[in-house]
Symmetry: C2
């Protein structure tokens, strides 16, 4: 075991786009385990768009990330010391250890710490398709979009960790699944590897009219469900093609994360097409997590649910990898490997 | 019985704001009743914002009003001739007779024709609080906002036929009811006559920040439910003050009826506050109409549900009265008295 713990703290809040200057790498001693505590060596750190929101101190559903403290983040790793009867050295766990190599967890933090079974599902998948991103996809699709067989479901950021699961689950429920992603490579991945029926490359659209034409070509029966990850022009175009009684699960609007306005230009379509548009936060729906995880784990174990990981190496590279995520440089789940 | 039937037909579609030139008054013979038909002398014509939508041929939930034909519209009147076993001369009825003095109804039109009981509820109320506007208020509040006692419900166009019922029903369900209306007179009516807890005069607000401050003063615990009739700046301000898990029933966006853009400037609040925003059309929910009407009729009969009517006289004045409605010149239900 290394005697030091390297970690990333937030040192300033971004004005607009974040930069590596907002973060600092620190090296400290690995903490000692006390009564009721466990020490985890983190193997993987999860990087997720929601972290951008926490870097700001604007009013939101969660408190902002405090300055000078270790960045919040999901982690998967192994117990290396335990003075808690529920955990033994060698147990594999997923939780919220933050951007660091070792995490000391105690008290309320233990509620979020979960022992995981890696015999059929890889450890890292508990940060992706069987973790928060997968559960987010499952919840928005199953509980807000509630798709019926034969319907068309569209998801933006389709090559991302959440979007990829949304489309595959929609397919498994008998729907037509259409992705929207940035670039030919991502669209190829979404269709060929993940099995979506089609994927529209929004970067190839000069304007909203062009995007509308591209989307029309692959949604000949209109759109019944939309899983929203991006906001902006994409949202306007999708809304215009929604069928009556369509459902929109608002999971994220990454286009607005740096404070840019992302207006919905023509909300009258909400009335005209009698749409339901609903925001949600997966953490607030804990009762369905076991249902979601059991379906997702079974599908990953059987190989039916496909996913890809983009892996940065070493905690020192977490800030750069995170900035890349915000710009859409990753395909699938963005992780940092720490061991 | 007059030998002639005066009626208003649509002769052209408005480009932007409608004018009286879009309509034409015609005088024709009163039609003769044939087998299975009834002839109604209309006492009241209902004027409603949805008619603006029908004047355009943009894609919408309903077919556009055909040019050269009698304008669609709700009416209440009396059967003056009948060759249908279900209706007798003297029966009072509400239905969709259009902008005319006499209506001949047969076939599918009879489905929309309803005998009404005017012993405790005035005939005209079947076009207002006990008719389509009241049922619309009931449905949006009861089925989309679903308010709990102690919550705060805000409604725009609060002095209108729908808005006035929304606030009174919210009060009867134990909520704080706050209206938004244009002008001191309307606000006074909403608070003093209809019994809302407060009403904000949006015309007295110089900008969104001023409106926000006015609304903040009367919604100290934030807003849990919003009944949307207007769109535009009001919507942005209300959305910003919604509490987590707030519900927005989208009934109308009159600010956009002439084709003006009414963007929602910051839809990220839908995610941040996990809002549900849902458009609805009352006609599409027929199963709950009896429930709604029985509650509304009982409240009107007992005098608990207050309402006011703005009454134009004579079919020839229907176009002018309709244009006034679109500009908010009415208080309460806009009717045209035809006898």
């Amino acid at each position: 075991m290394s005697a030091t713990n390297r970690r990333i703290v937030l040192v300033s809040r971004p004005l607009g786009e974040p930069t590596v200057e907002n973060f600092r790498l620190e090296t400290v001693a690995v903490p000692t385990v006390g009564p009721g505590q466990v020490l985890i060596r983190n193997h993987y750190l999860s990087l997720d768009p929601y972290m951008r929101g926490r870097m700001s101190d604007a009013k939101s559903y969660a408190d902002p990330q405090p300055l000078g403290e270790v960045m919040i983040g999901g982690t998967a790793g192994e117990i290396v010391a335990s003075e808690h009867p529920g955990f033994a050295v060698g147990d594999q766990v997923a939780g919220y250890g933050g951007w660091q190599e070792y995490s000391l967890i105690s008290g309320p933090g233990l509620v979020m710490l979960q022992k995981v079974d890696t015999r059929q599902v890889p450890l890292s998948a508990y940060l992706g398709p069987v973790g928060m991103p997968g559960i987010t996809a499952w919840f928005g699709l199953s509980k807000i979009i509630e798709p019926k067989p034969g319907e068309t479901v569209v998801v933006s950021a389709a090559a991302g960790a959440v979007g990829g699961v949304v489309g595959q689950l929609a397919k498994s429920r008998g729907c037509r699944a259409v992705g929207i992603a940035g670039g030919k490579d991502k669209c190829d991945y979404v269709v060929r590897e993940l099995g979506f029926d089609a994927c529209v490359d929004y970067k190839a659209a000069a304007d909203a009219a062009a995007l509308d034409a591209m989307l029309a070509a692959v949604t000949p029966k209109g759109i019944d469900g939309y899983f929203e990850n991006v906001g902006g022009m994409t949202t306007d175009v999708v809304l215009g093609r929604m069928n009556a009684f369509g459902r929109i699960a608002v999971c994220g609007m990454i286009a607005g994360y740096n404070g840019e306005p992302v207006p919905i230009k023509n909300p009258t379509v909400i009335l005209r097409s009698r749409l339901k548009m609903q925001g949600f936060i997966v953490f607030e729906n804990p009762t369905m997590v076991p249902w979601a995880m059991s379906e997702l784990a079974a599908q990953v174990a059987s190989g039916r649910l496909k996913y890809r990981e983009t892996i940065a190496q070493g905690i020192e590279n977490a800030p750069t990898a995170f900035l890349g995520l915000l710009k859409g440089k990753n395909v699938g789940k963005q992780l940092v490997k720490l061991v």
